[in-house]
Amino acid sequence: MLKSFSMKMFVFALLVGTVLSGSHSVNAASLSRAQQSLQQASADKKMTFIMFFNKDDSTTRAMYKSLGEETSQIENATVVAVNVNDKAESELVSRFDASRLPLPAVVAVAPNGAVSGVFPRKLRAGQIANAVVSPIQAECIKALQDKKIVLLCAQPDSGAYVPKGVQEFQAQPEFSTRTHIVNVRASDPVEAKFLKLFNVPNSVSRPVTVFMAPPGKLLGVYKTDVSSKTLTQTIVAAGECCSDPNCKHRKKNRK
């Protein structure tokens, strides 16, 4: 009975999706159904879970059902089903390279557009909940996905400042456009889970700097004021300095 109901719901969702995307194809300038959902979720500060599929089979139905169950326990979550063969959604399919994903697959998208998880074929318990990211975490992920160097400064409740070394690092011409500084209060309960990843205590007396490089390398956590020289040496050693073969840091490193 339940299975039959969930199947009907799934077919209904697909039909609605197809009809909506069909109506959008009339107006080429407008966004597709899924894109609209993403845009709306972003405006509402909601997580979006896009389920890409290519055929209506038992695996797809089971995944859709699991996704519905998991997201029902999460506040501020939107679910969108997208058929990768739907021409109206080709832009979205291309953006997430969904035609090359093992399908069905769920892609978790934060309100700022950061992708916080990809789950192919089958959802395991807790995966969807773990893909829900805090605002600062989403900001860091987005910056890394945009190939930027991230310097996360976990600040004390009073006397917050961006360490001089961090400022000097960002001021260097090689890094100025590629560096993204993010400030967060170390005691912020919303960010506690995120900061715990780096063992940042929730009570700090001076800023703790977390140094990350794209696509997702943790280069260091500095609990005292870090110098620009240390940051530069660290990123050069990690091979993430810059793509310019004539970069002075790379040349120096080669010697």
Binding site: R100, L103, V115, Q137, I141, P215, G216, R250
Partner: protein
């Protein structure tokens, strides 16, 4: 007269019987040296080839049988590219890097070429960056087991020529192509030039150094570009997997088969195991030949020495009548045996090394160098066998009574 002069005189005056024994000893050592030499260098070549390959696990379509590692993508069968993404997202322990490939035929200026689609690591990294904060580990593998850290960057890693040795590349543009050394020479093309492939213009990113493999005759472009131009859709011929250590690779095979049940997963060790088995057989056979030929040599030496003692009874009796002690007589025979063993061992080593030097490149494509340790083994064992085989005849000679010898005469 000194014993040394007596021995040399004896060898000089009656060379034929001794030569027969010498040939048997020499052939035994020759067989050992030649086969061991080729085997050792063949094993070294296999080990260095495996290091150079980088990838040590191959994922192939199920119906493919693999004859040659370097042509693992030349079978014409395909499998979905989604398998690559599936492996990248699975973050299996032991996986350090993935290198999917798709081969298509094309031509440049009417010259037929093999165009191979490859996926740069940046593609996996961008997929890994979709994994939320779990991306702060290896791009494609897991932080479990021996792959504690991912592939580090560095200038060498970013060099496109690293494709020749590491089988993967960090970045490759959609309109860039990398040329093998042989095809670059054939086309008269160098870095920075433009060539047209499947009606698309490509810029030559680099020319790879010579590898001595069929990769020298290939062109490499971005996998997705090749798929698009050849109209194959998102498929690949093979996925090469660089596993970060043997332990992980051992467990990895099971994990890979479970993750991709519709594929054939094989390790490079499986590919080369036939050659390794042949090497092992050759090594064992060399010791067998060595033992048999040395036994023949020992029997021959013993026989020659016994007949020598019988023939030289008068001379031995005369020596002893003139005051030669039994130990002196024993040393004469053992000295002769020592010289025979030494010369046989040295001759066998030289002959075996020359044979290996000639046959190694011809039979197994292996360049061979002399192995001094085999010289010591050959000379040592040959001398020991010759001395042991001569011991009883020497004792018999030393036990002769001069009076009886002259009475017999």
């Amino acid at each position: 007269m000194k014993p040394y002069s007596l021995i040399l005189k004896e060898l000089w005056q009656r060379p034929t019987p001794m030569l027969t024994s010498l040939v048997a000893v020499t052939l035994g050592v020759t067989a050992l040296v030649a086969i061991q030499n080729i085997t050792v260098y063949s094993e070294q070549k296999i080990a260095s080839d495996m290091d150079a390959l980088g990838a040590n696990v191959l994922v192939l379509p199920p119906s493919v049988s693999l004859q040659n590692y370097y042509s693992a993508d030349m079978h014409g069968k395909t499998m979905p590219e989604t398998y690559v993404t599936q492996l990248a997202l699975a973050k299996l322990p032991g996986v350090q890097n993935l290198a999917p490939k798709l081969c298509v035929e094309a031509d440049v200026d009417s010259i037929p070429v093999v165009l191979t689609g490859i996926l740069p690591r940046s593609e996996f990294e961008s997929k890994a960056a979709w994994q939320g904060m779990s991306m702060l580990t290896n791009s494609v593998g897991s932080d479990r087991g021996c792959c504690a850290t991912g592939i580090t960057g560095g200038d060498e890693d970013e060099d496109p020529a690293s494709l020749a040795t590491k089988r993967s590349i960090k970045d490759l543009g959609k309109d860039e192509v990398i040329l093998g050394s042989e095809i670059a020479t054939q086309l008269g093309t160098q870095k920075g030039d433009k060539i047209t492939l499947l009606e698309k213009e490509f810029k030559v990113l680099t020319v790879l150094p010579e590898t001595g493999t069929i990769d020298d005759g290939r062109l490499f472009a971005h996998l997705h570009t090749v798929q698009e131009l050849a109209g194959t859709g998102p498929v690949v011929n093979v996925i090469e997997i660089m596993a970060c250590c043997e332990d992980a690779a051992g467990d990895l095979i099971g994990s890979l088969s479970k993750e991709l049940p519709d594929t054939r997963v094989i390790t490079i060790s499986q590919v080369v195991e036939t050659q390794v088995a042949v090497n092992g057989l050759m090594s064992r056979l060399s010791w067998l030949f060595f033992s048999i030929l040395l036994l023949v040599g020992a029997a021959s030496i013993a026989s020659v020495m016994y007949s020598n003692v019988s023939e030289r009874r008068k001379e031995i009796g005369t020596l002893m009548a003139l005051g030669a002690s039994p130990a002196f007589v024993t040393n004469l025979f053992l000295g002769k045996a020592t010289i025979l063993g030494f010369v046989g061992g040295l001759g066998g080593f030289l002959l075996g090394t020359v044979l290996a030097y000639i046959l190694g490149p011809q039979l197994l494509d292996v360049a061979v160098q002399p192995m001094p340790q085999l010289c010591l083994i050959g000379i040592g064992v040959a001398t020991l066998v010759a001395v042991v085989a001569s011991y009883l005849p020497a004792r018999r000679a030393a036990g002769l009574d001069p009076c009886l010898v002259f009475n017999d005469a």
